[in-house]
Amino acid sequence: MAAGVATWLPFARAAAVGWLPLAKKTMPKPPVDNTSRSDEILYVNVSGVRFQTWKNTLDRYPDTLLGSSEKEFFFNEDTQEYFFDRDPEMFRHILNFYRTGKLHYPRHECIQAFDEELAFYGIVPEIIGDCCMEEYRDRKKENQERLAEDTEANESTDAPLPPHSTPRERLWRAFENPHTSTMALVFYYVTGFFIAVSVIANVVETVPCRPPKGKVKDLPCGEKYDLAFFCMDTACVLIFTFEYLMRLFAAPSRCKFMRSVMSVIDVVAIMPYYIGLVMPENEDVSGAFVTLRVFRVFRIFKFSRHSQGLRILGYTLKSCASELGFLLFSLTMAIIIFATVMFYAEKGTASSTFTSIPASFWYTIVTMTTLGYGDMVPSTIAGKIFGSICSLSGVLVIALPVPVIVSNFSRIYHQNQRADKMRAQQVCMHLCFQTHLDRDRDSDSTALCVKNRSAFEHQHHHLLHCLEKTTNHEFTDEMNYSELCMTESVGFRTSRSTSLSSQQGAQNNSTGCCPRRVRRRAAMRLANSTVSVSRGSVQELDTLQFKTTTIPHQTRSSLNAQPDNLKLNCGEQDFTAAIISIPTPPANTPDESLPPSPAPIPGILRNTQATAYTHESFKISSL
């Protein structure tokens, strides 16, 4: 059931009759309602499709185009209907929003078209109902990512060289985009070849070759033909060093270049050779030297400059970092639990391989990943039972994040494919996307300011006013309430006020209660307080202004869409109260004729002449 409060307001106001016998004072005058009560049918023509609806339906949301006087701009006198040159299919959804209070997102529509229609009709996308919100958000995010990628791709260095570029810039371009010049292409392939040669050499030099004459044992080829391998290694390292130095020279920002991943890989790939040259042929350090040679395998990562697929894989892993992290964390937890259990289960057995809990880690990992080497096997029955539970749970835990990673990879891969396709149709696309981006940016910052206060708000405030009169207390907010509690207990009254009106008010009232009220008013104006405040005789209307950044302004639609979030209790930090006061002539205050009442405040209120209230501003908002 769409809880549209506006319809129930008349009934709530009628029910206020029940407060009358209890009220000690007369009720304030109700706001004058000039709108005619008779309902009429409006005709809305959207590109030829005629829609008809009650005027009341459209008036439900006065902060939108159709609910405000803005629609008069589209009124066609000849045909006596409102004509919009927009998509009638989309308009159906918009109109349904007015009718039911819920905005639905049609799945078959393009997200951008939908957003544009919403922006045109002045509807905030945040009020999309829960049923469609997730889909909307997903599509929107996907679209934004796509646009960001496309702009990035288009801004990339595929544009032709600026005419006056230094040799350094040309060199950098040559390195980054090999297919721009023949020399760069040649260099690209040469380095690729040498990377391959270097990696193969690393691999082959460990293969056992036939022993030379006179020896029995098999020798690894690296030691048999060590001169040949050394020459090959030297050549590769020379090429790599040359390439690295060239890139360093050509890089527009050397610090940034040195910190980039590829440059680190380059350094790690060539350092072992130089360290090996420098180090003496000492038995002690040769062990360390050998381990350094391991780093030569990092040369294989240099291939990622040449292979797009590798880059995609790397990017996928980076974007799935959170899922991978979760996988790792849950695995660690499971490993620790099972290792502990297995250790204690197998503790009693003699000659058990489960010598300690860390030793059991190995067993747990091997079992959970369903490897099952068999080097550690439980022998007790309890151990076997827990071992089987361990292997079953391992399958489950590992299977969980995998689909996420896979879907991420496929999404990125397809995006890359698309990017390649689009590079073929460069120019026109570039222009189109620029305009799209501009429009997106504009629509995000559109703030809809409606200057009219709705009749609904007037009436609602009147109702709250009546309640105040009945109970002889007023609404205030948490901050002032705590202040009041403090001052009441201490009995200390000061009159600190910063605004003109409150100063004037202070002059008019000499009794002790007023300073509190005056200070309250001043504090209200300055502070970010919550909850609305209403005054007594002076007709001040309060509105609450939402300060969230995502929602430019809240309308009554928020009342309808999210009934649960509207408890405007003092705990909420998002609201600021703006005080609006309408100066009323003193003759209007009905309190003049009242007999003295137990609470001293209202009597004093009388004297605060409203003339001083000349402020300020107000945004609209609604409750």
């Binding site: 129930w8 009220a23 709250l464 105040e468 002032n480 609470a599």
Partner: protein
């Protein structure tokens, strides 16, 4: 002892059923089916002419009222929960559920547990277009929680407390705990003419008619619709 054994047996049966559902894999499906089988209560109001005769509204006004009502409650009835939620929206500062409960009972003249359009319109007709006596009678009915024809202090205290609850915690001046009681005492001081501790309908109407403020205020709500 027998109660304990019975509960144990029931628990065992429930456990066995759950185990069975777990094994056969039908743990959650039944609940959804149950929900679908629940009947949807629907109510249609009596004819427009009849209602026009019974209330003080014109046909057009009834049409507007019904369209709004039907839009909010397609099923044609308002339950107490919904009523409380709606009413609470107008008083976000405090807790309107207690007063909404009394209001619901006042609207639901037939004590059916839900408000239909006829109840809605009848009450509105009295409140907005009725005579002074009718309005006061409706208010008396609201205050008389147990519908025995008398308002005693407890009932009045409940009502007044409910009204004060709607104000919320943060009021100015600070709400004292005996404020409702004082209010009730003042009320009885005024209304209870023969000092017998209860207020009857006649006393109520008489006292209200003597009070100018109340009379004046009653006129204010005429133009709500």
């Amino acid at each position: 002892m027998t109660g304990c054994a019975k509960r144990c047996k029931q628990g065992l049966i429930k456990f066995a059923l759950t185990l069975h559902k777990l094994v056969t894999g039908t743990l959650n499906k039944d609940k959804a089916d149950d929900d679908l089988e629940m009947t949807v209560v629907c109510h249609r109001p009596e004819g427009l002419d009849q209602m026009e005769a019974q209330t003080n509204f014109s046909k057009r006004e009834l049409q507007v009222l019904y369209r709004g009502f039907k839009n909010e409650c397609p099923s044609g009835v308002v339950s107490e929960e919904t009523f409380k939620q709606i009413y609470s929206k107008f008083f976000p500062h405090g807790d309107a559920s207690a007063y909404a409960h009394y209001l619901f009972n006042a609207f639901d003249t037939g004590h059916t547990g839900s408000i239909k359009f006829e109840d809605f319109v009848t009450a509105l007709s009295i409140l907005l277009r009725g005579s002074v006596t009718e309005k006061l009678q409706w208010t008396f009915n609201l205050y008389d929680i147990n519908r025995d024809g008398y308002i005693n202090k407890e009932e009045m205290t409940d009502i007044v407390r409910a009204i004060y609850d709607m104000m919320g915690k943060y009021t100015y001046p600070v709400l004292k705990t005996d404020a409702p009681k004082q209010h009730v005492d003042a009320f009885f001081q005024k209304m209870d003419k023969n000092r017998d501790g209860v207020v009857t309908l006649d006393e109520f109407i008489l006292s209200c008619q003597e009070d100018e403020n109340i009379m004046r205020s009653l006129q204010l709500f005429e133009n709500v619709i």
